[in-house]
Symmetry: C2
Subunit: 416 residues, 2 copies
């Protein structure tokens, strides 16, 4: 059937459950007599080019189970985005090691890498099967109901806003929490799942799917603060103006001498959004300067939302495990008609069960899903019931729930 | 014995377990026939001056148990720091409602308030007993082994750094995490409890108990980065120079046109440290500018570390409950010699059990504990084993633990 050697790699931002998928591949491979060796590439595609492999065949199933429950990427990850020349180097190494199957766990960049490597192998007549295994907290892979990693990050965001809302109710003021997500607002929208009582925050949710204007933002905050005496706001790091310019860049430019004017940009010229508290701070500055509200506090959830040890959705855990298992099954049993290579996808069945399929790589690779219109309220600053129904089952069991004292005022004696 | 009316209030920054202490007071009071009514003051001492009380006698024990498990302050909190005139107003209201016992849950400001109110009552010959119930994530109350709220916040910080360390190992670079604590470094020091493997971060820990210099910081980070190819740093928001000036203020001044130059100050002229990502951002700017390291990311844990719903120490929960229960017992049974008023304190027995005592208010009020020297390593950038032994039992049961793949390199075929 093949050389009996398979290779697995992890790419992009770590998640709470990407190691579940890795372990799903390794443990499922142990069932298949056609597989003699399972190699792991250290730091993703970079480890392939560098020929930096570990032999996962030698790992105990006991330790693999513990690693599966550990967040981040056990093999190491990379931000490298391979071009054609890079993929050719990768293919050279895969061929030298007689790798028969290549599994790459990651987001849309990773799926695109899988697509190019598969094309290289086919052009060279080399019998390599390439499978992309989905992973991203951004939930932005097309044709997937959702992506592994998103539910756990969404749970962190919901639990964080539930607590921030309680804190804000105890010491009133304005609270701005900035959530990851450059193009897709799913993770920011998850903040809505923290609400229980009618006046719970977040009272305003700003998504990259809608145009952001500072003036409207200030008017929205003012209205909520006047109504409730406090205001909790969820903001996506990817909010932008009508021209698509990030609000972070716009606010930094307003303040021409700001230390953040030299914004870090990645290889694609995108402004670095994560790893800094600048957006929350600039938005708080605006509120203080324009609305005269005394207590204005900003938090940037940063890397905690994707790495925090001990906040995970059990539904996410088992699905992440399954996409790894299914990837090996698809590769070894070659179902799904003529599909040789592909991208494993999660599909929703009923309310709620998960099922899996294998999609053509070209259907997923390099494409970005954003929040569908029916998930966003008409106001543009909230989600719909459809979104709540969509997300709730993914958050898993044991979601902590806040409780309040019921009102029972004591009649005043002095101030009548 | 008394009028049969008691009043309880919550003050200062919310914690994960302050409602346990509130519920400890309310449920313990139900056992005492001398108590007919339990009032709660809304938003701390502010609610006393405003005569804004709720009748907790009417709350169900079922809901009280749920509220106990909810973070933040169920009665609402306040940042008001009563002076003599303010305390006289409070006393006037307590007298009007014939309150026999006043319980105030909070940190050293709250204990000082209790002290002044008790003095007022004694001077007026009014039979009021005043008990301070300890609470603060800063762990800075003197004569307490530790304070309720600190263990849960410490657990959050440890879990956050465990995840941040894994993330940093997967995508190497420098990571700076800023933790709350103006004068006391206990909470920042808790980051050390996240380490498991020998090269785990945080590799450097900066506490307000030691003088911080930017040059030494940069040299420290450079050395770790050269050794490990990565570096995780825990920084207290309260780090300061030899003159006691906050580093945030110093770094903002260096950058004379910085948007943060107008630093917010509180009533005491202290620079506002929390609720902004400025310190992490400025430290990251320094590292990028001076060390030429590409991937430098900063997080500020902000309000998440004291409010996050679903990260709590069970030891902290039960101790916070007990200090509330003990407060009522001390008040009703008047043990501890002649002590009429007092501050409940936690004492450590063996390894590990907790016990309680009642201290004179003057012994605790307005005093600040900082980390003892034997808890800080000679380098000044780490903690000692004594600190690890001190903190570990407080973090409670079920601490999540990270696991790694064991090394098993595959021999190279192309790059020999």
């Amino acid at each position: 059937m093949s050389s009996g050697k398979i290779l697995v790699a992890q790419g992009g931002g770590p998640t709470a459950v990407i190691n579940q998928s890795l372990v799903g591949v390794v443990l499922e491979a142990r069932r298949h007599h056609g597989i003699q060796r399972v190699y792991g590439a250290r730091h993703g595609v970079r480890g392939i080019v560098d020929e930096d492999f570990v032999d996962l065949t030698r790992e105990t199933s006991q330790n693999l189970e513990r690693v599966a429950a550990t967040p981040a990427a056990a093999l190491g990850s990379t931000r490298d985005k391979p071009d054609l020349a890079y993929c050719r180097e990768m293919f050279k190494v895969l061929k030298a090691h007689a790798i028969g199957h290549f599994f790459n766990i990651g987001g849309n960049d990773s799926s695109d890498t899988v697509r190019i490597v598969a094309e290289q192998a086919q052009a060279a007549g080399y019998p390599l099967r390439c499978i992309h295994i989905p992973k991203t907290i951004d939930n932005d892979l097309v044709l997937n109901d959702h992506t592994p990693g998103f539910p756990s990050a969404a749970r962190f965001v919901a639990q964080a806003f539930a607590g921030a809302n309680l804190d804000n109710a105890a010491l009133p003021g304005v609270y701005v929490g900035v959530v990851m997500g450059r193009h897709a607002g799913f993770l920011t929208a998850a903040s809505a799942l923290s609400r229980k009582y009618p006046d719970d925050g977040p009272h305003l949710i700003y998504l990259p799917e809608r145009v952001f204007t500072v003036d409207q933002f200030l008017a929205d905050v003012k209205a909520v603060h006047e109504r409730l005496g406090r205001c909790v706001v969820a903001v996506s790091e990817g909010i932008h103006d009508a021209a698509g310019q990030p609000i972070l860049a716009q606010l930094s430019k307003r303040n021409a001498n700001d230390a953040t004017k030299d914004l870090e940009r990645d290889a694609h010229g995108n402004v670095q959004l994560s790893g800094s508290g600048a957006l929350a701070d600039r938005l708080c500055d605006q509120i203080k300067a324009s609305l005269g509200i005394q207590r204005v506090r900003g938090d940037t959830f940063g890397y905690l939302q994707r790495s925090f040890l001990g906040c995970v959705s059990d539904v996410d855990q088992r699905e992440a495990r399954e996409v790894g298992e299914k990837a090996v099954q698809y590769a070894m049993w070659g179902r799904h008609g003529e599909l040789r290579d592909g991208s494993v996808a999660i599909q929703r069945s009923g309310a709620y069960a998960a099922d899996y399929t294998l999609l053509p790589l070209a259907a997923v690779a390099g494409k970005t899903r954003t929040m569908e219109d029916h998930f966003i309220s008409a106001s543009g600053t909230d989600v719909t019931d459809a979104f709540r129904l969509y997300l709730r089952p993914l958050l898993g069991s044991g979601m902590p729930e806040p409780f309040r004292l019921r009102p029972s005022p004591v009649p005043r004696l002095l101030r009548l």
